[in-house]
Each structure stands twice: as C-alpha cells, then as structure tokens.
C-alpha cells in the first residue's frame, strides 16, 4: 500500500490479513482512475445528467431573517435519491466497473446509502446486494421496497444489535469471502484506508461548488460552515475545500440522542473515546473494556457508534469543532426549516439546522454568513416524524 491513510494518528488499516490485498487493489485503482480523463468524463456526465449536479447554494432569506444571520443552504437534498450519498455511489460504482468487479455490496442504516447504491447498480448493470440490520429493515420498510424496485437484494442482518454497525460487520465478512468478484461500496468517510480518503475525495465536489458559489454571491468566504456528522461524509465533502482557509469556522453536528450524557446517544466525537472500529482508529462509543456500545439517534443516519478518522483528526487539531444536538432539538429544526422555507430536511440535516438556531442566538454570531450543508431531504422521515410530533 502506498499510504496507510493516516490523519495524524487516526485512520489506518486495522483489518484481517485477508483484506489487505483487496485494499491495495482498491487503492491502486482509485489512484489510477481519479486522474483518468475517461473515468472523470463518465463520472461528471452521470453527476450532471443522472444525479442533478451542480446543486444550488440557496440563500434562505426567511430563515436568515428569523435567526439574524445570513444563511445559505447547500442543496444536496435536491439530488437524485434525495441526499449527497449519490456522489459517492456513482463514483465508486464506476470505479468498480473499471476494476472489472461484477458485484456490489453495501451496508445501510436507514436505507439512504442502500438506495443510492441500488440505483447505481441498476444504472451500471451491476448486481447489488445491501446489508441492513433486521431492526432497520423493520423500521424502514419503504426504503427496502425502493431498493428492491431498483433490483437490489436486501439482506437482513440478525447479528449483534441488528443495526448499522452490524450491517457493516456483515458486509465486511461478505467482502472477505468474495474479494475477487465484489466491490464493497462503503457509504461514508469511514472504514480502513483507502475508504476515508476516497469517499472524501468523491464528496469534495460539494465543497468545490460551494466555494465557487459563495464567491459569486458574496465575493468572500463564509464565516461558518455547518454539517451533520454520522460517519461524516457530507461534512468532509463540504469542509474539504475550506480546511486550508483558517478564517472559516467548521462545525460538525452529531446526533445527541435523548441526552448526550446518557448512553443513548450517537455523539461519538462529543462523548466517545479513541478506539478501533471497522478498520480504523478514530473515536468510538465504547465501554471500559473496548466493547462497542450501541448508538442512539432519532436519525438513523447518525445512529452509529463510530465516526470517520479524519473528523477525529480535525477535532484533535481544533481545525473543526463538534457539538451535538438532541433528538428533540433536531425535530424542532426539522419543523423550523419546513415552516420558514418550505424545505423539509432529512432528520440528519435537521441537526445542523437546529445547531444553527442555537448558534445564531449568541450575540457574537449575529450577522455572520453561515453555510449549512443540507445533506438530504426529509421524505424518508415522514412516517417517523409524523409519529413523533404529530402530522
């Protein structure tokens, strides 16, 4: 392997020996095709014509007025399948095709990444199987149906807590068994190298567009960028272009669950400790022995006891700061954006909205230019939210 994929001390390749050659093969293919004209032409074509890029940087005037800051929304929610996930699945799906892989597997929690993988499998004609915790299969029946409509097989996972982390374990086990034919399409900036670096690269188009758009609209960089963090791919996607711009404050917002001080939280960076999960060293939610805890968040996309290793690095170097908002606050953020702007955010993205509200309430932040990465739309959450707050 050319790089061990370290971000400071975080990241790495903590995987069984069996997987190392597959990671080497993937790294080599990624490095080769990321600068290949034919690959990029094809990818850019699909990003534009299939997924709907570029997405708008929308000045949310009503919300701005209400909160007393100038707020822009990066409209990843407008993409095909409803979230930023498609940027990565298109790129990795194409990469798998260029590598001659004949089968895609993926993990999914709520189903967003599963759907984004399923449609790419359908588009590129690659058979796709998606691992999903049986608990999530039950909770997200419509998304299972959506995946199946796109010809993907959904494989319920009965092990462990039967949620996202167990779906990842099971996808890894499948990959270990079927390395030659199969590409494991990881959905976030997590896992062993090269995934955190590669997924960030494929999502960095969000940051590139955002920078260009804000310069056109404001003639200057924003004061603050906010994004929700589960595994962390939408946040790194938008942060990536601004990490070198020290004057831009970067804020990652985690799913606090009921109460971040309880064990029922998804706030890995805020409440977790250093540990190794799913192939990399990062922050994890764990007990004193290093056994991984179950996470909890009202938003399935943030319901994960790990987080991408580059976020751990950005936290430790204080380049980005991380905070959590509770389920209740996120639901309020969900309502706030829906009512003021007529934009229904995904529950994940609603965490960033809720944080923006708290942020704007502070006197020192009044009038600042804020960009919120609106990573997904809320259609998928209608059922859950209507039960939580009444339709």
């Amino acid at each position: 392997m050319i790089s061990k994929g370290k971000f400071g001390k975080f990241g790495g390749v903590f995987v069984p020996e069996l997987l190392i050659p597959a990671l080497e093969e993937l790294e080599a293919a990624y490095l080769k095709y990321k600068d290949d004209d034919e690959f990029n032409n094809e990818l850019n074509y699909y990003l534009k014509e299939f997924a709907g890029r570029p997405t708008a940087l929308y000045h949310a005037e009503n919300l701005s007025k209400k909160l007393g800051c100038k707020i822009y929304l990066k409209r990843e929610d407008m993409l095909h399948t409803g979230a930023h996930k498609i940027n990565n699945t298109l790129a990795q799906g194409l990469l798998a095709k260029y590598m001659g892989k004949t089968r895609l597997i993926a993990e999914t929690g709520a189903g967003q990444h599963g759907i984004a993988t399923a449609v790419v499998g359908a588009l590129l004609g690659i058979p796709t199987e998606v691992y999903m915790g049986s608990e999530d299969v039950e909770r997200q029946k419509l998304n299972v149906f959506r995946m199946e409509l796109s010809n993907a097989a959904v494989l319920p996972v009965e092990s462990g807590s039967r949620t996202l982390k167990d779906a990842i374990n099971e996808a890894m086990r499948d990959w270990i068994t079927n390395l030659k034919t199969t590409h494991y399409l990881i959905g976030s900036t997590m896992g062993p190298h090269p995934y955190p670096t590669m997924v960030k690269y494929f999502q960095s188009i969000i940051g590139q567009e955002t920078k260009r758009q804000i310069m056109e609209k404001e003639g200057r960089l924003p004061d603050t960028i906010m994004a929700c963090v589960g595994g962390g791919s939408n946040a790194l996607g938008i942060f990536s272009e601004f990490i070198g711009d020290d004057e831009v404050e970067l804020v990652g917002v985690e799913g606090g669950g009921h109460d971040i001080k309880s064990h029922r939280t998804g706030a890995t960076l805020t409440m977790g400790t250093e540990g190794v999960l799913h192939g990399s060293l990062s922050y994890v939610l764990q007990n004193n022995d290093g056994q991984i805890n179950e996470a909890h968040s009202v938003s399935a996309g943030l319901d994960y006891p790990g987080v991408g290793p580059e976020h751990a690095y950005l936290k430790d170097t204080s380049r980005a700061c991380y905070d959590a908002v509770t389920d209740q606050e996120a639901l309020e953020g969900f309502r706030l954006l829906s009512k003021t702007e007529g934009i229904i955010p995904a529950l994940e993205s609603a965490h960033a909205i809720a944080y923006a509200k708290k942020y704007a309430e502070k006197k020192e932040n009044k009038g600042k230019i804020i960009i919120i990465n609106l990573s997904g739309r809320g259609d998928k959450d209608m059922d859950l939210v209507s039960r939580q707050i009444g339709g």
């Binding site: 392997m1 903590f14 069984p16 020996e17 069996l18 597959a22 086990r173 540990g275 056994q291 991984i292």
Partner: protein, 277 residues
C-alpha cells in the same frame, strides 16, 4: 505447575511422535466462566497439544455466525478483559501446554498495549494473535511482545502475496496461523484444494511451525492439511457448535466435546498414511 511449554517445544514434541498438533479453540467465558473452564479442561484431557483462547468482542468482523454467537454468550455472562485474564490463569494452573490468545485490537488499545501484554504474560499466555492487526499496523507491538517474552503470531491467507509472506514470517514467532479459506471462521464440509496449495506455498517461505485454521471441522480436514505440510490444525467452530447445541445439558456437552477432540487428535496421528504403506 511445571514449566510452561513453548510453542517450539510443543511442535517438536508432536513431530518426534510423527504427529501433528491439535489445537482446539474456545471463546473464554462461553457459555459462562465455570462451564467454559470445564470445556477447556476437557480439551486438555482429550488430546489438545495447545489451546487457542479467544476474548469475546462486540464486533468480530473476521468471524462467522458460530463464533459471533459464542462471543455474545460470553459477553452476556459478564466476561470482561480482566476476568478473561483470570480465566487464563485458571487454565495455566491446570496445564502447561502452550496457550495462545486471539483478540481484536480494540481491547488491547483500550487497556494500553504495554499493560495488556504485561497482564498476558502474568497469566501465563505463550502468544497473542490480533485478528485485525496486519503488519502495517504493528508499530511497537513486536517490541512489547518481546519485552514480556510473548510470541506475536500472525496470519497468512490465500490472498497474501509471497512478498508479504516473507515480511510476515520475519515478524512472526511461535507459529504461523494459516487461514484455510477465503472467508470468515465457520465449520465447512469441504476443504478447498487452494488450502493445500497455500500450505505448500507458505512452507516455502517460512521455517516457522504452521497451524491451519478456519473451516477445519472434520478429522479428514486435519489429515489433509497435515499431509500438505502443516504442523498443526486449529479447530474452532465445529467445537463451538457442539457447545451451542448442548447448552441445556452440560454433562452431554462435555462428553461430546471430549469424544470429538479425541477423534480430531487421533486424526493427527495418521497424517502420512501414504508413507506408511
């Protein structure tokens, strides 16, 4: 207790007898501390030449359903890293054969490498294999193992290139764990031809004793891998299945475990059938 037998001594001992080493595996604390201890004693009394002991982990991504279920039973019964070491101490009081630990790296990272390896030495372990720690991430762990006189054991797999094999063989002490299958742990009815090829290939690159594991679940599998040049065989899921199927009746469980172990050990005595003829 007489002196702890080293892996080298054990492999020489069985070799002199014209046998291969039989190494059964258990997740410590499966299904509970006491029963688990009795199972391990049964292993030792039924022909085990060394023991492979796993600490349970919440997210064992190299393991199939059988070991996952064993991990879960063990954790539910209250197993912790500290109690795991106490468990091994109890085994060490019972037998002097080599004891190896199979563990996921997060348990070591959380406790601290030095402290973990010190505890491992103190409870009488011979060596440690970290399931998710390839040579790339070893760091100073080899020095730590050396400091406490422990063998650091590594895995070689079908996907491991010859170049990597050389590197791994250089780092590895005690024995080299040869992964029989492309996949995770679990009992299998067939042993792939590729396994036999792998054993021969690894043999060319290392003088270390070799023990084959993953999917070894029949006496014939053992004979095959020993004939291919392996010095030993590690049996896990096939034994854990017996435990799982007899949770309600401990006496039957121990009896079945013992009788299966004797069959497996017996298989190691007939590795070179063709040479005898």
């Amino acid at each position: 207790m007489c002196q702890i037998e080293s892996y080298q001594e054990m492999f020489e001992r069985v070799k002199e007898k014209g046998e291969g080493a039989f190494i059964p595996f258990i997740v410590v604390g499966d299904p509970d501390f006491e029963t688990s201890l009795e199972i391990v004693k049964t292993y030792a009394d039924s022909g085990a030449d060394a023991l492979e002991l796993g600490f349970p982990f919440s997210d064992p991504l190299a393991d199939g359903p059988t070991v996952q279920a064993a991990d879960k039973r063990s954790l539910s019964s209250g197993m912790t890293t500290k109690r795991g070491f106490e468990f091994i101490k109890c085994i060490r009081e019972y037998t002097n054969i080599p004891l190896g630990l199979l563990v996921y790296y997060n348990l070591i990272y959380k406790m601290g490498e030095d402290e973990f390896y010190k505890a491992a030495m103190e409870c009488g372990l011979n060596g440690i294999l970290v399931a998710d720690l390839p040579p790339e991430e070893v760091g100073i762990l080899l020095d730590t193992a050396d400091k406490y006189g422990l063998d650091q054991i590594f895995m070689a797999a079908q996907t491991t290139t010859n170049e990597r094999l050389e590197k791994i063989a250089e780092m590895c002490t005690g024995f080299l764990y040869v992964v029989a299958v492309m996949g995770v742990t679990g009992a299998r009815s067939e042993l792939a031809d590729a396994t036999v090829e792998l054993v021969s290939r690894v043999r060319c690159h290392s003088d270390l004793p070799l023990a084959v594991g993953f999917g070894i679940s029949h006496p014939e599998h053992i004979q095959n891998v020993l004939s291919a040049g392996s010095d030993g065989a590690i049996v896990a899921s096939a034994l854990l299945n017996i435990i799982e199927e007899n949770l309600e009746n401990k006496e039957v469980m121990l009896q079945k475990v013992g009788s299966f172990c004797r069959q497996l050990k017996e298989a190691t005595r007939h590795k070179k059938i063709e040479e005898l003829v």
